[in-house]
Subunit: 442 residues, 2 copies
């Protein structure tokens, strides 16, 4: 047993914001256990930050403000990038990889949008670029997809992967509140940013979905092909009608392998109440994964926060330490789970997917309106699974709510356009996709 | 980038029962994807079985009936032990490890009861003894505990880790059925064995809990110190009263680190309905883990079955292949998560734990009986959180149901003994522990 045991892995942290500071604190607080688990000490020797926090850095030998200098410093073994954003973070990671250092990042936007280039560089340099913390915070979903479920053909995955959006929908459901009111509440609680676009319009979720889909199906990262729709148009009425039909409304990221290509889409979704996923409330995240042999497994927990995210960053550091201690000469795990990512299945446009739909159609309650709607749907070969029609108080506009059977979205779009041309239809039709999750129940 | 790339990992499977056959089939069906993920081919070259299945083994070069010969064969790199039981399986694993081979096993009983010896041997030989499939079937919970959550001090974990037991309790809840009737149904469906003792008395769950606790807390495997109580005494009435109080009855394995020592216990448990864990029904498994930084994460999915278990066996094989391909000279992951398992925290006897309790006390409905019960509880400093007292039809025996606040079990035992001496108490008191799960809600 020839055991090459380095006594230390020397860490440089770039950025001491929420995640960077949490990482530093975690490495200090759980030092003894981490060393026992890693087989060597994981020591933060360098920090680069624009906002020095001397009280946090008492045991850090080198503090500075130049992350690029840190990334090139030969006395650093691993660079932790917690700066965020695209520009400096990209340069830091590129410099570190080029200098032959391993990198751990929590930067989902950068991985989803620039990951192909960065992973190619890491591969060329035989170093690791780890990113567990970039998806679903403290839930080890990257490890589950890339390693725990590696024996399976992944058929689909579906997740609540934005805590802000899930908090808003949960509150709207619990209190019959309007989106705008709950958003304001979320901002006051610190769950939503001043500019909430990334969260509520699904961009953050699309970044995470892009990364998971790439690992699940062995395809390159293709953020620009991910369909993204936010939750700002969902109303308390929609949630009530969904509840009445046996569903909750969740903002899901869904990736699926079909015969014609890969689906990647983020949108509000009706989920049957009996599913565990429908019962994940508040700022929690949860991902349901369907593999051909394992069936469906669910991973749930805190998707954000300094401490949960730091847990994932340090898990990556421990993994790295264990590989170095074991004498691995290049990364044990391919970054995206495959030695090559040459699967060239096309990503489907949203018009090409097949789905079931919830439609809320505002109509004038006149004799014959239901027949007209039925005819339009029939013209596109759309069959109806369920209808809710409320009585009108007078001859005001009332909603007709319809659940459809499975149909191609292009056909549904044609039907919606034709419906909106009917004189009895008084406004825009609300459409929410329904996800039946093929495969057994979890 | 000096890449030592073996073209093949040669696998020998001992035992072609459910799991062994599933493993063979999975390796064939998903061959291409597995190779892309592993970086080398994983090929079953040898099989040893007492019940030949030629239709399964068309691509296997060497079939025989002597597992010990296979375990010693120098042309095998990894031995998969799916024989089960203690005797032959133990000898096979020991022979394989001694011959310097890696071993993958699904044998929870053997790992829980003889693992300390086997892991020490694997360590001495610098080979891997992998056992993901031994706990919770296809759910990658070993990987989550050992790697994904490795940055955390694990505070506690609690799991539904026996599908048979969960099926029985779910059916009893759904249909108000008696234990014995549902057990018979489970046997007819193939969910329960002809001799169901291992499942319904909690021994199987105790094996799995022993393994998880060892990884979570860095302690040696101590199956003999795990408190084990089955579900056969739970009645539909208990389930109804629990429901009325806001709880479901689940058969949980619970491990917790306290200041005085480690708790390891398997027993029926009241779980608040709002918890995801309370909503895991049927043959599913789920494990909730509380880490100091990550908070609580939940892992749910199929806990048994040929295909789900094979998924975990092959995940271990892919992990091994990736380590070999990366040039690791000894195992990247310590079997139980720690380079040493020297944490000598004592395991607490069940009398030493603190818990909340559900008590169903059969009484003659007489004036003053509640006062007498209250006095007995007060003598042991047990305070009452909730009471259900039903009116008696006549002066028959009626149950009084009590939820207590937190108290040491030794005190509760004294109170129960004193209560059973009261002349108004007409029979044995049913006691079920309540688990409030300290930490945030998932």
């Amino acid at each position: 047993m020839t055991q090459h045991t380095p006594t230390q892995l020397r860490i440089g942290i770039c950025g001491l914001g929420t995640v960077g500071a949490g990482t530093l604190r975690l490495l200090e607080e759980n030092k003894e256990t981490i060393t026992r688990r890693s087989g060597c000490e994981i020591v933060v020797t360098h920090v680069a930050t624009r906002t020095p926090k001397p009280e946090l850095c008492q045991n850090v030998a080198h503090s500075g403000d130049d992350p690029l200098a840190l990334a090139a410093d030969p006395s650093v073994d691993v660079v932790v990038e917690t700066i965020g954003g695209y520009d400096v973070a990209f340069d830091v990671i590129k410099t570190a990889l080029t200098s032959g250092k391993h990198v751990v990042t929590a930067n989902k936007a950068l991985i989803a949008e620039k990951g192909n280039e960065l992973f190619a560089l890491a591969r060329e340099k035989a170093v690791t670029l780890a990113f567990e913390s970039s998806v679903a915070g403290g839930i080890p979903i990257i490890k589950a997809l890339r390693e725990g479920l590696a024996a399976n053909e992944i058929e689909w995955l579906a997740g609540i992967i934005n805590g802000t959006g899930n908090f808003i929908l949960s509150e709207m459901t619990a209190n019959q509140s309007q989106f705008a009111d709950v958003l304001q509440e979320a901002q006051e609680l610190g769950y939503a940013e001043a500019d909430p676009t990334f969260d509520v319009e699904g961009i953050d979720a699309a970044h995470k979905l892009t990364i998971m889909a790439s690992i699940a199906f062995g395809i390159p990262l293709q953020f620009d092909k991910t369909y993204t729709e936010g939750i700002s148009k969902v109303t308390p009425d929609d949630i009530n009608y969904a509840n009445e039909l046996g569903y909750e409304v969740k903002h899901l990221g869904i990736a699926r392998k079909t015969e014609s290509g890969i689906e990647m889409r983020v949108h509000p979704t009706l989920v049957a109440k009996s599913r565990l996923l429908a019962n994940v409330n508040g700022v929690g995240n949860a991902i349901l994964v369907q593999g051909d042999f394992v069936g469906s497994t669910l991973y749930s927990g805190p998707g954000a926060g300094a401490e949960a995210t730091a847990s994932a960053v340090v898990a990556d550091l421990i993994d790295l330490a264990r590989q170095v201690v074991a004498g691995a000469t290049f990364p044990v795990y391919p970054a995206l789970g495959y030695r090559d990512a040459s699967n060239d299945s096309p990503v489907l446009a949203i018009e090409e997917i097949d789905a079931e739909y919830y439609l809320r159609i505002p109509v004038i309650d006149r004799v014959g309106v239901m027949a007209k709607i039925s005819n339009v749907l029939q013209d596109q070969e759309i069959s109806i699974e369920a209808i809710i029609q409320k009585e009108a108080a007078s001859n005001e506009s009332v909603p007709i709510v319809i659940l459809t059977h499975r149909v191609k979205e292009a056909k549904l779009n044609k039907a919606m356009a034709a419906l909106e041309n009917l004189e009895e239809i008084t406004g825009a039709i609300m459409r929410i996709r329904v996800e039946p999750f093929h495969g057994e129940a979890t």
